[in-house]
């Protein structure tokens, strides 16, 4: 353990996404509370909720941008916030080319002048039960649509828009992961082609989700029913909670059901994606940068007890 940052701010929402910034600060989004920047000095809410110029109406995903922080506010709108006099102000808005079908953004990455969005993008559907989907969309810096990657066609409606999708900056590659399976798709960011798809080795403790979980269901009470299902999946199975890349290693955090710990961090070597180690922990991984691991103490504030106090642990690994 290198450091522990404790702050008097009460956190109750689920951790959405998180990233480690260039200056070593952590940005994490908590559902219901918005984006929070946490450093050794303070934990501050980056912007409040609203329709004002320096506010966010909704929040789907966040990533680092050369001019500050980029927030996907609406499915087709990215707001870039920069720091002015200590506070964050909106400096630029990028409007993405719209698609007429359903769009749910889960993760965003700005990489070499292009926006990579991961999520659930319905491309077309017909009344004959043909659902064409794409899971990664690429836009240029001005928001013009370039290409869709990782396509799938299904013949029954599903609820995969409720899933989390992860995009990881792997220096000269981009890794795409879906929360429900240990499979990595390697994307070449220059020519926008899929290099390979690798099934990662699952540890013995891995508890896969039921295959029919994301099949479309009709609930008697839609809000309560779907919320209960989501909570069951998030706490009952080994979904991928966090994905990061550091020093030639892909790191994934999954939930496990051991007496010793609630989470497991898996290490995979770049290239071959062979397992390179694992650690058990009770803390939720927020990200990794230059050998430093940033954990949110005691797990996810929504699901774990004693996790409502904002405490970030900064650790390094020996060996």
């Amino acid at each position: 353990m290198v450091d522990t940052w404790s702050h008097d701010i009460k956190i109750t929402g689920r951790i959405g996404g998180s990233s480690i910034l260039n200056d070593g600060h952590v940005t994490a989004t908590f559902y219901g509370q918005g984006p929070v920047e946490i450093s050794s000095r303070a934990a501050e809410i980056v912007c409040s909720r609203g329709q004002g110029p320096d506010e966010l109406q909704d929040l789907f995903a966040v990533c680092e941008h050369p001019h500050g922080l980029a927030f996907v506010e609406l499915p087709f709108r990215i707001k870039i916030f920069g720091q002015d006099n200590g506070g964050y102000r909106c400096r630029q808005t990028v409007w993405l080319e719209k698609s007429r079908f359903y769009t749910a953004v889960s993760s965003v990455l700005f990489f070499r002048g292009k926006w990579f969005l991961a999520g659930y993008f319905l491309e077309n559907f017909s009344r004959k039960y043909v659902y064409k989907k794409v899971f990664v969309k690429v836009y240029d810096a001005e928001g013009k649509y370039i290409k869709g990657l990782i396509r799938r066609t299904d013949h029954e409606p599903d609820q995969r828009h409720l899933m989390d999708y992860h995009l990881v900056n792997g220096c000269d590659r981009i890794f795409f992961l879906e929360e429900d399976r240990l499979r990595v798709t390697v994307i070449q960011p220059e020519n926008l082609k899929i290099e390979k798809v690798v099934d990662l080795e699952a540890p013995e403790e891995y508890r896969p989700m039921p295959k029919d979980f994301y099949v479309f269901k009709r609930y008697d009470d839609p809000y309560a029913g779907i919320g209960r299902d989501m909570d069951t999946w998030r706490t009952g199975y080994s979904r991928i909670l966090c994905a990061a890349f550091d020093r030639g290693t892909l790191l994934l955090q999954i939930r496990v059901f051991e007496k010793a710990a609630r989470f497991m961090v898996l290490f995979f070597k770049e290239g071959s994606f062979q397992p390179a180690g694992r650690i058990l922990t009770n803390d939720r991984l927020l990200g990794v940068r230059e050998g430093r691991f940033y954990f949110y103490a005691n797990g996810d504030p929504r699901y774990e007890e004693r996790a409502d106090q904002c405490r970030v642990k900064v650790c390094t690994l020996e060996n």
């Binding site: 329709q51 109406q57 087709f76 709108r77 808005t93 409007w95 007429r100």
Partner: protein
Amino acid sequence: MKRLYKVVAAFLAGALVTVLVVRLGGHAYSDLGVAIQNAREMILSDLDGNRFCFLDLVSSGSETCCLFFGLNQCYSCIFRGMEDLKLLQQQEKNCFAVAVHDNTKDVRGWLTHESFHPVFVMSRHAFLRHVSCRLLPVIVHMEKSRVTHCAYPAP
């Protein structure tokens, strides 16, 4: 028997009063879940900031169709609503859309890749004050300043 006549007469009188209030009053109601109240006080602005009264945009002769939508709502539904309005425009009906949003600049940005016009802006506060409906987006059909029916566009 006399008592029954009295009850029936009272019922008819009540119905007559209700009809007169709805017809001659300052607001129009729809049975389909949309109500526009005090339409004379409803102020919209175009994308350049010019202000208009809602009733001035509603044609006095032919049918008027108006799509109310919010920027963060289901885009597939908004898209379908705008396509429906385009078809109605081809039938030479008076059609326009109203974005319920506080910032005109945002609406201008949102409309970057849209081909439908005209689009006006209405603040959220004004919308909540004057319009009641189940959900957005909604297409409201009006004749002579009166709501005749509404439709909730679906993808």
